[in-house]
Symmetry: C2
Subunit: 408 residues, 2 copies
Amino acid sequence: MDDSIRYLLDLAILLFAAKLFGVAGKKIGIPEVVGEILAGLVVGSAVFGFVKESDFLSKMSEIGVIMLMFEAGLGTNLQELKKSGLKATLIACMGVLVPIALGTLLFMSFYGFDVPGSERFNRGLFIGTIMSATSVSITVAALKELGKLNDRVGTTIVSAAIIDDVIGIIVLTIVTGLSGSAASENVGNVLLKVVLFFAGAIGTGFLVYKGMAWLDRRYSHQRRIPIISLCYCFALAYLAETYFGIADITGAYVAGVVLCNLADRDYIEKRIDISSYMIFAPIFFAGIGLKVSFGAMDTKLIFFSICFVLVALIGKVVGCGGCARLLGFNGKDSLRIGAGMMTRGEVALITAQKGLGVGLLTADFFTAVILLILVSSVITPVILKKLYSGKDPEPQAASGVSGAGQTG
Amino acid sequence: MDDSIRYLLDLAILLFAAKLFGVAGKKIGIPEVVGEILAGLVVGSAVFGFVKESDFLSKMSEIGVIMLMFEAGLGTNLQELKKSGLKATLIACMGVLVPIALGTLLFMSFYGFDVPGSERFNRGLFIGTIMSATSVSITVAALKELGKLNDRVGTTIVSAAIIDDVIGIIVLTIVTGLSGSAASENVGNVLLKVVLFFAGAIGTGFLVYKGMAWLDRRYSHQRRIPIISLCYCFALAYLAETYFGIADITGAYVAGVVLCNLADRDYIEKRIDISSYMIFAPIFFAGIGLKVSFGAMDTKLIFFSICFVLVALIGKVVGCGGCARLLGFNGKDSLRIGAGMMTRGEVALITAQKGLGVGLLTADFFTAVILLILVSSVITPVILKKLYSGKDPEPQAASGVSGAGQTG
C-alpha cells in the first residue's frame, strides 16, 4: 500500500469534520469558526488522531489565513481606515504595553521578583512579549460571520491588529536584544525595515492600483482580474515576511487595501471567498485544533498556564478596550474592540520559538502558548457574537469597560 | 533571510505566468492550456529557472487534475455514458493494443529484433506499454474550452480514457510479471482489485447519491453541498489509488459521475470550477512545463525519442480513431476521438518508473517519456481546436482516418 497521496484523505477528513462541526456549532449558537477549530481538535492527535499535522497542511492553512486577510483588506473602507488610523495606533500600543506589564508581573509572582535588567526580569518580560501579539484572523472570520467586519469598530480592530503586528516586531527585537545573544537583531535595522516596507508597499501599491484599474476597465469581470490580484497578494505576503520581517498576513492585508477601490472589488472578493471557503479557510481553522496535543505537565505549570491564558486575555481587554473607551468609543464598542484583540495565533508561537533560540524561554512554556491560542480562538468569536447580539444591556457593558479602562 | 514561505512566491509566479501565457496564447489562436504549459516551461528549469518543482507544487497540481476530472465526471450525461460504454471499451482496447505493438516494433528496429519471451522483446514490450496510457486531463480541459466536453464524442473520449486506465493497469501487471522480478504483482489480484473497486464505487455510490440528494433537498444552494461533494471526491480518489491501484483521477471522475444527477450539480460545478481556475488548475498545467529540463542526450537517443513520440501519437490516432471509424463514427469524429486520446501524462511516467524498478527500462528513456508528455499536451489541444473549427473539409479528414483505420 502506497500512502503518498495521504494528503487527499487528510483534506477530505478535515473539510468534512470542519463543515460538520461548523454547522453543528451554528445550530447550538456558537460561531462556525469555533466549530471548525474544535473539528481539528477532535480529528487531530488531541482526541482521535485521524489526521496528523503535515508540511502540506500547514502550507494550505497559511494560504487560508493569507486569503482571509486579503479579503479583509479588500473589504476595507479607506475613509474609515484613515479616520481610525490614529486611534488604532494608540489602541495597538496599549494592547502591547498592558499585556507586557501584566505578563512580567505574572511570571515574577510565580517564579520570584527581581530588579529590571536581571535575567529573571528579562524572562518575565519575554512572557509578556509573547502575550502582546494579536492574531486577528479569527476575529476577522468572526466579524465576517456577523457582517460587522467593515464598520467603524471592525476597521479599528483590524488596523489596530496590523499595527500591533509591527509594534510586536519592534518589541520582540528589543527584548531579545536584552538577552545579549548573537541571534538578536539590531533595533535600528528592524525599524528601518518596517519603514521601508510600508513606504515601498504604498509607493508600489499606487502603481499596482493604477495598473489593475486600467486592466479592470479593459477586462472587467474576466478571470484574469481576480487571478492577478491573488498573485499580487501572494507576492506581497512573501516579500513582507522574507525581506522585511513583517508577517505574511500583514502583507496580504496591505495588498487587499491597495486593491480595495477597484471597480471589480466585489468580483475579486467573491472568487477569493469561494476558493477560501471551499478548501483553504477550513484547513486553517481546523489546523489550529490539529496543533493541540495534551502532553505531561506538572501542577505548577498547569496553574501557571491557566493564569497565563487569563492574564493574556484580560490584558488585551483592559489595554485595548480601556484605551478605546478613553478615546471616546462607547462602552459596548470598547468591549468589542478589547474582545476582538484577544485572539492569539501563530505569531505568539513564533515569538516563543525566538525566545527559545535566545535562551529567554524554556520549552515547558509552549503548552501555555498553545493553550492561549486555542482558548482565545474559541472564546473570542463566542464573546463577539454575544457582544453583537444586543442581548446584554448597554449600560452594564459600558460600566464594565470604563472600570477596566481605569484599571489599565 | 528566511525562505520557508518560498511556496507563496512560486504560486505567485506560476499563476501570473500561466495567466499571461494563457491569454497571449489565446490571442494568437492556441488553446489557453497550451499557453499555461509553456508558461511552466519558461519559468521552470528548462528556460529561466525562477520556479523549481517542489513537493508542495506537485501536490497542488495533483489536486488541480483531480478537480478537473471531478468536474468532467459531474458534467457527465449518464444516458450518453451508457450508450457510449461498449464502443468506448473497444476504442480503449485498440488504443492500448496498437501502441504496444508499434512500440515493441520501434524498440526492436532501433536495438535489434528478437523472439517473444526474450529479454529484448520484453524491453520492447515495455516501451509499448509506456505508450499505452492515455492521460485525458489535457483533452478534458481542451474540450471544456471548446464547449464540447459533454456531447457524444466528448463522452466517448473521457470514458474510453477511463477504461484505458484500467486496461493499462492490467497490461502493466502482465508485462512487469514477465520480468520475473519480485516487484511484479499477481494478475489475478489486480483484476480482482479492479472489479472490487468498480463494484464498491457503484454500490456505495448509490448510497452516497441518495444521501447527497436528501441533503440537497434540505439545504439546496448552501456551502455544505459543494464542500461535502469535494470531500467525497478526495476520499474516493485516495481510496482508488491507495487500496485498488487505480489512478486517483479515475476515482475523482467516478465521484463526479456518482453526483452528476444532483439537483445542485451546476451549483457544485461552479464552485469547484472557481477553486480550480483560481489556483489549482493553472498550477497543474504549468507544472507539466515545470517538469521539463533538457539534459544531455546522445544522437541515437534523441532520434529514438523523436520516433517514440511520433509512434506514440500515431498509435493512438490509428488505434482509437480507426476503431471509432469501424464502429460507425464519421471520419471527423473518429479523428477527434483519436486525437483526444493522444495525450499522455503522469501515468506514463509512473509506468516508466515501475519499469525502472523491475529492470525493464533504463533511466535514459525518461527524457523520451517527458518529451511525449510535453509534445502530446501541447499539440493535442491545438489539433482538437482545428478539428472542431470546421475549417478543414470533412471528406478529406474522413478518408484520412478510414485509411488509418485500415492500417491499425
